[in-house]
Amino acid sequence: MKKRFTFILLIAIVLLANMSLVSADMHGWWADAAAPYAGATIRGVSESTPPSNYVADVLAAQFTELTGINVEFETTSWDQMYSKAINDMEANTGIYDFVYIEQDIIYSYLAQDYLVNLTQFAADNPDLAYEGYDESAFTSFADYFKNADGDLFGVPMEAFVKVYLYRKDLFEDADIMAAFEEEYGYPLAPAENFDQYRDNAMFFTAYGENMDMDLWGTTVQGSTGHPASTYEFLESIGPSFGLYNWGINLDAGSAMSANGGALDGDTAVEALTFWLSMLPYAPPEATSSTWDEVASSFAAGRAAQGWVYGENAAWIATDDSRSAVTGNVGVRLPVTAPGVIEAAEMGDGYIGYYDGGAFGVPHSSRNKEATLLWLQFIGQQSVQAEWAAAGARITHTATFDDPLIAEQDAKVDGYYTLLEEQGPLFAGAPPFPFHAQVREVIDPFIQRAILGELSPADALSQAAAAVDEELSRLGYGM
């Protein structure tokens, strides 16, 4: 008995020695750097999305194995995520060591000084700075998480653009093409301007009705019970007409044209009018649709074309278990008004929303060192490609060239190429030190416009007035 025990012990020692030899080459740095924090637990909060789930299920386990630091992940719904992170940071409770920062809220967090300057923190703790992690390897999306000095406050973990999706099987069907050309006098094609968009929408809605199919001409993210509708208008439709920064002039502290704002201006009214005119050509669920329901409608084959967030492009195009239109998804830049693309190329405006998020460390965290290691781990080059394949998100320039992504790119009609090449034409949310506050104020007016209770012009002028009131209440007004 005793002999056997000694024997097992011996084997164990040999094995352990062996393992440590192997890891000395590959993982030595992580183990050494993490030695003081081994056994600690760091906690984070994120929305339950495929990229987050990959972090929680795969990367966290790898990291724990390397370092002995446990990662606890709280995944929750979109509304919950904000309130929980804000409560924690505002009350300085230190529940979370890292929080998900959606691009549009970063300026609010920075204005309140909630977040640790990661660049600075790594510089102050050279022992913790991993050489395989390089801030310059990120795409330009990382710029949204930097301050004026170029210091990073969040490690980007996902990034997408909202694109124009269309059904290739419908747009390339010979009979349909002939019917369209006969009716409208020009060939059927993915929309490049708003008139064409409207023609396509009208045509396919009528086509669906005639063929007794559940098919409509466009998606509209028009939920009357959710901020998603306001977001689609302000961040996708508005910019494509040339309405930028929600029509708010922060310097003047106003959204009214009279004071240098644009929310009640002609461009805004034109954009809203166009968008609302698409409602009759959208599936009946459009007025209840948030972003995920728009994606589901498109995946169900209920819309011929539409504005869909890029994180959905990959699964709609490839995942049989969730999508009925796999292999038939075309991806293009969203439709824009004349001159908008040119202006965006000059750096004068943008054509749509560059969406995504990063992980940052709140000042209230009590395990900043361990968390810094963790963020460098998920921010390093070597984990990116598989993560991108699993979650359809790209945050590093080098990931675009990875064979895994090149293979996926072909399946999603060049979505990743579009993200790489045309990504800079898109922009994140405007750099306001408030975000949800003003959006909440605009919401009811957009919703009432969707319901037809207010005309586009009335809705926007009332919204602009309400925004001004809220701005002055927040102390950013005139």
Partner: protein
Amino acid sequence: MTISFRQRAWRLFVTYGFWIFTTIVTLLPIWWMFVVSMRSRVELFGRPNLSLSRFFVENYTNVLTDSTFQRYMTNSVVVSTSNALLVMVLALLATYALSRYKLTGRDNIFFWLITNRMAPPAAFLLPLYIMFTRTFRLGDWTLYDTQIGLILLYCVFNLPFAIWLLKGVIDGIPIELDDAAMIDGAGLWGVLRHVIVPLAAPGLAVTGILSWVFAWNEYLFAANLTSVQARTITTGLAEFVTVTGTNWGELAAMSMLTLIPSAIIVILAQRYIVMGLTFGAVKE
């Protein structure tokens, strides 16, 4: 004779017609939830079909094999059971005190107790959050993300309800019975155990069941005052709603699974509700 037979047949027809109709209305949403839970994500699309096409159990196996789900379920069971027991005991004592003792400002206290259930939860979450994370703190331990925190907090909306429900029951027990027991030498606990509890049993049972159900179903507090360890099953439901599509199949499967424990409780509790039927006779 024939007329009375016809009348009886008619009455039978109306009774069962009524029950069958209300049963269909009651069960339709639950049936639909079951149908959805038996469908894959892509099958949900297309024209609605109320019939069950096949047994697709993947939604259930996915949920059941998830260790997170198991933890949520355990938490929910522990929290709602402990809360229901605590509420039953405290409410019994409190109601007995309010019913039998001449306490200064008794009616006002009673009404104040009730007002605790009236508070709109949203604004009260912030102070509760601060209390849970900072006020009640022992070293590194806080009430936040603990089962005991939820168990105590749920008393805020369950106790007023339980006290109000029991008030009628205990007021209905003649005080002479207490006095008789006391003359026989019973102390306070004796009276409670041998007079009040047996007579109020059906009322207590209903109180316990409903408290259990309210605690089991609570979402807002659980979502905001727990993080990882003490999360309950209702907060898990909200996680299926994501940016890249709501996983309705798994959400429905999980809803069905959360329904099972409560349904079992109701079926078991039928006996007590039947006992409640004889309650009136006791008073004679």
